[in-house]
Homo-oligomer: 345 residues x 4
C-alpha cells in the first residue's frame, strides 16, 4: 500500500509502497479516507513521543471504510464507514469492561503503538471495541477533524465537567483542544469565554462560538472573567498544560466551580503549584480527563450529523498524502491555526 | 391601583380600582410590567382551581419593577427589575433550606393564594427568597413568557432529566409546556422530536427547534420514534398528563431512558396504568418535576440574556389589561397556539 | 458429568450422567461448587419461564472453579475461583460496551438459555466478560447465595437508587430480594424498615439488619412509615411486583424520594395503576433495575470479603444435588424463608 | 452569665460574669450544655486566627437548649434541643438560597465572629437557617463532639466524594478530621485505611473503624495502599493540609479515584506542587470541601440517633468550664488524642 513513512527522527517522510497490513480474527483493515495532521505527529517525528519501531507510519486521527473484517468481528463488515477513536482499549481490563476504554490498563494508540492513518490502509485490533460507525451524514473530512483534540474536549466537558446550559465556561488556551471546547460548550447551551494571548486565535474562537474573548496578555484573565460573569465561571478548562493557564483557569472559577484539566504538561515541568486552600474554601472540583471512550461517540456523532456540532469549522487546509510530511515539518517553525487534513491519496 | 378583578366564577373580569397592596418587613411591592395569560387562570376562573377568596386578582406569570421593599429585605431595593417564580416557598421549611422552594411544605402561589399579576401592583412575601433579578438584557415581555410553563420545562429537563448534548428528546404534547421543552432541549444541544395530533402545533414546534415531528394520530408514535432514533429516545417528556401521552412517552424510550413527567392529570383520572415490568427490564427512570425554584433561575436567565433561549418565540399576542378577561374567557372555546401577554396598562 | 436433569415440565428432576459441556475459544468450563435454589427454577420447572430445550439443566446462581479456559480467554485460567453473574452479556452490543451487560441486547442467562449450575460442570460463553473472580475470603456458599436476588438488590440500591448513609429505606416484601435489600441498606449506613404481612419474615428481616418492621396486614404501611420517619422514606423498594406493594412503596416516600422497582409482575397483571400527579407534586423518581453487570461486582465482593456484607445469613439449608429436585418441587406448596444451596455433589 | 473569657492573646482565660447575650427578631439565645475544645480555639488564642474583638468568648462546637427565640423565628421555640453548625450563613446569598450555607458569601462563625460556646449562653443570628434540631436520642456530649471536625469529614465524604459501599477509602492524617473520616467511611459501608506516622493514632483509628493501618514513616504509603487494594484507593482523604500528605493521598488512588481535600495549609505554605499529568492520565477528581451546611444535618444525626455513627468515641475527656482555659493552653505543648468537651458549668 501507499504510505507516508517516517524512516528516522526529523527525516522527511517518504511516500512509498509498504506491505499491506494484516489482521487477526478480531481486527479490521480500514481504507483510510481522511487523516488529521496533529502536533502529536510532530512530537513523535522529533522524538518527544516514542513510536513502536522504525520505519513507522504515523497518524491517529482518521476515518475510512472497512476493507476487511476479521472472522470474529460481530459489529462491522466490509464497506462500513467508521471512525477510529485514538484512545483504544483491549476490551477486557476492568476499565474497558466498565466502558472506560480511554484509560485501558493496556491502552493502544494507532500511529504510536501500531501503524496509523498516513497509510492508505490501517489494521485496527479489537475492532468490535475500537471502531465506531460513522453516520452517513458525517463527511470523512468532518470525521477526521474530530481527531484527538475535538473528542478530548467533548468527553471532558460533557462527561467529566458535566457542563450544563447557561453555565459560563472559560477556556484557557485556544489551540485545537481549546477551540474545540469553545465550540462544544456553545453547542451544549453554555456560554464560552475564550482566553489566549494571540488576537488571531481569539478571532477564530469567536467564529467557533465564543461569546466573549479575553486577551490574557493585556488583561488579568481571572479578574476580567469574574467581572464579566459576576462571580466567576462555572467551568474552567485548561487546554494547554502550563502552570500559568492552569492557575488562571482555577482562579477564574466561582464557588463550587469545576476545573477541567485537558492540557498535558511538557516533560520538564510535571508538577504545578496549586492553591489547595482556595480549592477547599471555594469547594472547587479539579477534574482530569483523557481522550474519549468509543461507547460515548454516538451522541457526539449525532450532533455532527444534525449540524449542531461542526468540527469541520476547525479545518483550514486539505492536503494530499504527498504534502503530509512538509505539513508536519512546518510545525517546527510556527503554530498553525485550525487543522490540516490529508484527504487526497 | 388598577386591576382586572375576578368577582365570581365565570363572571367577566372587571377592570377597576382596588386597594394598593401592603407588605410586611420581608415583602416587596412590584409594579407589574407584563403578565402572561395562562390556562391555569381559566381553570381558576371556572372553579377547577380554588382561589383564596373573592373578589380576587389572578395572574402568576409576571415581571416588573420593585416599587417598595420591606425594611428587612436585603437583596432588593426600589427600582430593581425582577421576575417572580410562581412556585414560591416560605424559606424556612426543610425543602426551602435545601434550595427546593418549588416543593415547599408551605408553598404560596401568586394569583391563587394571594393577589397576582392582573393588578398593576402585587405584594410578594419573603422577597429575598421569592424574587429573582431580571437581567437588563431580558425584556419584560420575554420575562413574562417564562411564566410557569417555560420554567417548568426548563427545570424538568435540565435538573431532573439532566438532558445532555446529542440525546434524542421526544416531547409528547405541544402545548405551552411541550413547546417550551422542545425549545429548551434544542438550546441544550439535544435533538428534540415533537409529538402531537395537530399539524399546526407540529409546525410551530419546528419553529421552536424540533428537529423532527411525529403526528401521533397518523403514526404509532413509539414505533416512529424508535425507528427514527435507532432504538428509542434518551429522554421522553409527557407534557399533557393523560394516559395516552404518558404511555406513548414511556414506550418511546431506549434502555436506560428517562421519562420526565410534567403534565398533571385531570381530576377524574388520577391513576395511570403503567408497565412496571417494562420499566424494570429497560431500566427506565420515571421522574416527576414541578415548577422551578428561584435559585435555579440565574443560569436560565443568562441563556435568555445571551439569546440562546428565546421564550419570546412563544408569545403570539400582546394585549392590554382591559382585554385580559376576554382572553381568558376565549379559552373556553378553543385552544390557543403560543401565549398572550398583558403588556399595556 | 453428573447433573440433576429436568426432563419435562413438572417431572421430578433426574440425577444422571450427561455429556460434558464444550466451549469455544472465548468460553470457560466451570466445575460447580455451590448452586442456589431459586423460585425462578420452580417457575421454569412448571413452565412459567421457557427454557432452551429439553432435557435441560437448570441453575443460575452458582460459583465454582475454572476447569478449562478457551484459548482466547485473557482474564482467567484453570484453577481460578469464579462467580457467575446471571445477567450476562455478549460483550459487543452498545449496552455491554458501556458496561451495562445486565441489559445486553442479546442477553444470555445460564440455567435458562443454556445449561446451568445443577450440573457438575457448566460452560460459560464470553468468559472474559461474564465471569468475576471470587476473592479467597468469600466461601463458595456465600458466593452462591449472592445468586440472583442479592446482586439484584445490591445493584438496584447502590447504583440506581444511590442509597446514602442515614437515609430511611422502606423495603416492601421480605422474600429473597427484600431481605437482601434490607441487609445491603444496613451495610451502606442506611436505616432499613422491613414491610411484610408475615411475622416470621419480619423477624428474619431484623436479623438481617432491619431497624424497624411494619406488618402491612395490621397497619397502614405508608402511614406507619411516614410517622416513624417524620415525613416518609428517602428510598422505597418494591421487592414483590404486585400492585399493592408497589403502591404502598410509592406512598411511603417523602418529597424527592426514590422508588426502586425490583419486583417483576406476574404475567396476568402487567400494568399497574400509579398516581402520576403524586409523582409530580412530590418530585418522586421511579427507578427500574434489573440484575447486576459483572463490572460492578468487585466492590460488592470486597464487602463480603471484609465481613461487612454477609449474604450467607440468607442461607437456611445446605443440600446435596440429589435433594435439589425435591427442594424445587416443595416450592409448589409453600414459601421458604431464606435460601437453600446445593453444596454436595 | 458565666463565661470563660479570652482577655488577650495567650493570656489565661478568665471565668467570670459577662453580660447576657441579646438577639434580634430572627435570632435565638442558646443555653450551652456542651462545648468541644478544638485546636482552632488554640489558634485563635495565640493569634493565628483573628477574633472579632477583645474581650472575647471562644467556642464553635456546641449544643444546648433554646432559652429564647426571636419573634420572627418560625422553626424553633424555647426549650428545643439544638445543635449549632459552625459554618453558618446569612440565608439570603445565592449559596445559602441553594442550600450551601457552608460557603455563604457572608459567612459567620460562632466563637470567631461572635461570642461562642465557652459562655453559658450564646446568641445565634438567623436561627431558622443556622440551628438544627438535636434528636432526643443524641446526647449533648455526642452533639458537641460532632463539632467542626466530624461534620467536615461527613459532608466531604458523603456529599463531595460521594463515597460508596465497598470502596477503599485511604485517610491520610489521623487527627480529629481524619479519625472522623475513618469512622464515617466505615459506617457508610466503605473500607477505611488509616495512614499516620504515630502508632497510637493508628491504634485509635482501628477502634473507630479502620480496616487497615499504614504507618507512613515506616512504609511508602501509596505503594502499601496500592498493594493492599490491588490498584489503589477509590477515595483518598487529606486530613492535614501539608504537601506530603496531599501528595501521598493523590498517589494512593486508582484510576478514576476521587481525592478529598479537607486539610487546610498553614499560612506559610499556601501552594502545593501537584502532578497534573497524573490527574489527567488517571482521570482523578480533586475535590475541596468545607464544613457542612445545616440542611444536610438531619440524615447524619439520624445515624447518630440509631447508633450507626458514634462521634462520642472521639471524646476522651469531659471537663468543667473552669478547666477549659488550661485545656486550650495545653495544646501549645502536645497534640491530644481525641477530643475534650466542656460539660460542667
Ligand atoms: Zn492528535
Ligand atoms: Zn482495557
Ligand atoms: Zn418552604
Ligand atoms: Zn401558568
Ligand atoms: Zn417468581
Ligand atoms: Zn451486549
Ligand atoms: Zn434466582
Ligand atoms: Zn490548626
Ligand atoms: Zn449566604
Ligand atoms: Zn473546631
Amino acid at each position: 500500500m501507499k504510505a507516508a513513512v517516517m524512516e528516522g527522527l526529523k527525516k522527511p517522510l517518504v511516500v512509498r509502497d509498504v506491505p499491506d497490513p494484516v489482521i487477526d480474527a478480531n481486527g479490521a483493515v480500514i481504507r483510510v479516507e481522511a487523516n488529521g495532521v496533529c502536533r502529536s505527529d510532530w512530537h513523535a517525528w522529533v522524538g518527544d513521543i516514542e513510536v513502536a519501531s522504525l520505519p513507522f507510519v504515523l497518524g491517529h486521527e482518521f476515518v475510512g471504510v472497512i476493507e476487511e473484517a476479521g472472522k470474529d468481528v460481530k459489529r462491522f463488515k466490509k464497506g462500513d464507514r467508521v471512525i477510529i477513536p485514538f484512545s483504544q482499549g483491549d476490551g477486557t481490563c476492568p476499565e474497558c469492561l466498565a466502558g472506560h476504554h480511554n484509560i485501558c490498563d493496556n491502552s493502544m494508540m494507532p500511529g504510536f503503538h501500531y501503524w496509523g492513518g498516513y497509510g492508505r490502509y490501517a489494521a485496527i485490533p479489537n475492532a468490535d471495541v475500537n471502531l465506531v460507525e460513522l453516520p452517513e451524514e458525517v463527511s470523512f473530512e468532518a470525521g477526521a477533524s474530530i481527531g484527538c483534540r475535538f473528542m478530548t474536549a467533548y468527553y471532558g466537558l460533557v462527561e467529566q465537567a458535566k457542563v450544563r446550559p447557561g453555565e459560563w465556561v472559560a477556556v484557557h488556551g485556544c489551540g485545537g483542544v481549546g477551540l474545540s471546547a469553545i465550540h462544544i460548550a456553545s453547542a451544549a447551551g453554555a456560554i464560552p469565554i475564550a482566553v489566549d494571548i494571540m488576537p488571531e486565535k481569539l478571532e477564530f474562537a469567536k467564529k467557533l462560538g465564543a461569546a466573549y474573548v479575553v486577551n490574557s496578555r493585556e488583561q488579568n484573565a481571572p479578574k476580567a472573567i469574574k467581572e464579566l460573569t459576576k462571580g466567576g465561571a462555572h467551568v474552567s478548562v485548561d487546554a494547554l498544560g502550563i502552570s500559568d493557564t492552569i492557575l488562571n483557569a482555577l482562579l477564574s472559577l466561582r464557588k463550587r466551580g469545576r476545573h477541567l484539566q485537558l492540557g498535558i504538561a511538557s516533560s520538564e515541568n510535571k508538577m504545578t503549584a496549586l492553591p489547595t486552600d482556595y480549592i477547599v474554601f471555594k469547594q472547587i472540583q479539579f477534574l482530569g480527563s483523557l481522550g474519549m471512550p468509543a461507547p460515548y461517540y454516538p451522541t457526539m456523532l449525532q450532533l455532527v450529523a444534525t449540524g449542531k456540532l461542526n468540527p469541520g469549522l476547525l479545518v483550514t487546509k486539505r492536503i494530499s498524502i504527498e504534502e503530509a510530511g512538509k505539513e508536519i515539518e512546518a510545525m517546527t517553525e510556527f503554530q498553525t491555526l485550525g487543522a490540516s487534513i490529508v484527504t487526497k491519496w
